[in-house]
Amino acid sequence: MRHLLAALLLLLLLSTAVHAEIAVPPPGLVVDQAGVLSAADRQDVETALRSLREAEHGAAMAILVIDHVPDGDIETYALTVGRAWKLGRAGVNDGLLLVHAIKDKRYRFEVGPGLQGDLPDGAIGDIGREAFVPKVKAGDLRGAYVDTVAAIAARLKAATPTPATADTQAASAMDAQAASAAGDDGFTAFLVVAGVIVVLSILLRRRYLHSGLAAAAVSAGTLTFYAEPLAAIATFAVVGGLAGMVVTFLARNPGVFFDFLFNIVLSSSSSSSSSSGSSSSDSSSFGGGDFDGGGASGSTD
């Protein structure tokens, strides 16, 4: 009991330490932490962003306005925020984030990989220099954001169908997702079969036990074989040999087992906290897109 309490305390400490790395503001279309936009201005910018989102060749764009970059460079900060907000659709990665640090006089466009074919670094760099910076220098922030969004929309609309690079990137991302989904399926199938066999063995008489065990091993192995051949081999090996190993191993390293339990608690608590975090936000607009660090930064000096 005392160990459990100690573990929980440690857990609490650890989870706060992880979250303290870079503070990410709650997501939104326009997040104005510097308080520079009036309600009307903000609505104009949001309208522009919404129409960009709904366009045929659009982008899931958001704007974050801050006074200063909290820590480190604006590139790392923008990437961290973009990934935390999961801007853009999963697999398509058509998110776009503008971070404007007003008092630092710095800005950064973080462009999702799926948009980089139509909107290469040079193009977004031009938009920053030509549509964004002059208006910011003139003190017209509303105009700067609205014009920037309009310039991006025009550029995406004019662009020819997405070149091969973006396509292959999106395709490989989807392949990776499909592959991990297949692995999960194999495991689920194994779980179901193993569960059924265990229940059957319990229900049946003793004389069926050995055939039940064999059937469990064979059917679980066969089923996982189609999903993942190596996993099938591992299943056989594991059923045969793991019991003795675990016992000797745990006898030698009791601490490791404690770590294992601890990790289970840790992972379940972190996943539940992250899901509660995203459910409180505007989840419909934030898909599951990723960023690779492409885009352009600049100074409004």
């Binding site: 590139e75 990437l79 290469p120 670094d121 040079g122 193009a123 977004i124 760099g125 031009d126 220099r129 990776a176 592959a179 991990s180 692995g183 495991f187 194994f190 779980l191 193993a194 265990v198 063995s201 319990i202 049946l204 008489r205 003793r206 036990l209 065990l213 469990a216 679980a220 996982t224 993942e228 190596l230 996993a231 591992a234 299943t235 090996a237 594991v238 059923v239 793991l242 019991a243 190993m245 675990v246 191993f249 390293n253 490791v256 087992f257 770590d259 294992f260 990790n263 960023f291 690779d292 660090g293 492409g294 885009g295 352009a296 930064s297």
Partner: protein, 191 residues
């Protein structure tokens, strides 16, 4: 069926499940490292692909900087020749060294061109500059993602129950990719 048999059966089932999920976890972590490494290589290659047109453009305005331009091309040739594998620490060192050298020569070139206002005003050059800055950032991100995936992988093969499975299927510790930060950071020269 006796209670003893049920218990044995249940223990075996649980063990099998732990073993299988541990195996899947390890393989997943290993694949993530490989994918992250692929991304690192892709981004370095992207930078190498940018260099010929960058050099051509600079040459048009700053033919005097022949030495700097040739140093960039030589470093690029050397960097693209390295055959790298993450499981071979020696080739990884070599890859790191040659790419670091290319970063340094590129940083020198970008510092030198600050003295050529006509070049800096050239739209094509500005796009190349954007692409280069974006790609340097992509490299930094890919490197960080790779190191994160290696950290997760190394942790999973050293903690229970992965440590047992890793021994069984022969998974080894992977090394990090820490590039020379001093060489990678471009000097900020202002005139």
């Amino acid at each position: 069926m006796s209670t003893k048999n049920i218990v044995v059966l249940a223990v075996l089932a649980v063990l099998a499940l732990i073993g299988l999920s541990s195996y899947n976890g390890l393989v997943g972590a290993d694949e993530k490292v490989n994918a992250a490494w692929g991304q690192v290589q892709t981004q370095y290659q992207r930078r190498a692909d940018l260099i010929p047109s960058l050099v051509e453009t600079v040459k048009g305005y700053a033919a005097h900087e022949r030495g700097t331009l040739e140093a960039v091309l030589a470093a690029r040739a050397k960097a693209t020749q390295v055959n790298v594998s993450t499981t071979d620490p020696k080739s990884l060192e070599q890859f790191k060294a040659t790419q670091g050298e290319l970063s340094a020569t590129l940083a020198r070139l970008m510092a030198v061109v600050e003295a050529y206002p006509n070049l800096k005003a050239d739209g094509n050059f500005r796009h190349l500059q954007d692409e280069l800055a974006g790609t340097e950032n992509r490299i930094a991100v890919a490197r960080r993602d790779f190191n994160d995936s290696v950290r997760a992988y190394n942790t999973s093969i050293r903690s229970f129950p992965g440590v047992m499975m890793a021994g069984m299927i022969g998974l080894q510790r992977r090394s990090f990719f820490e590039a020379d930060e001093a060489a990678a950071k471009a000097p900020s020269v202002k005139f």
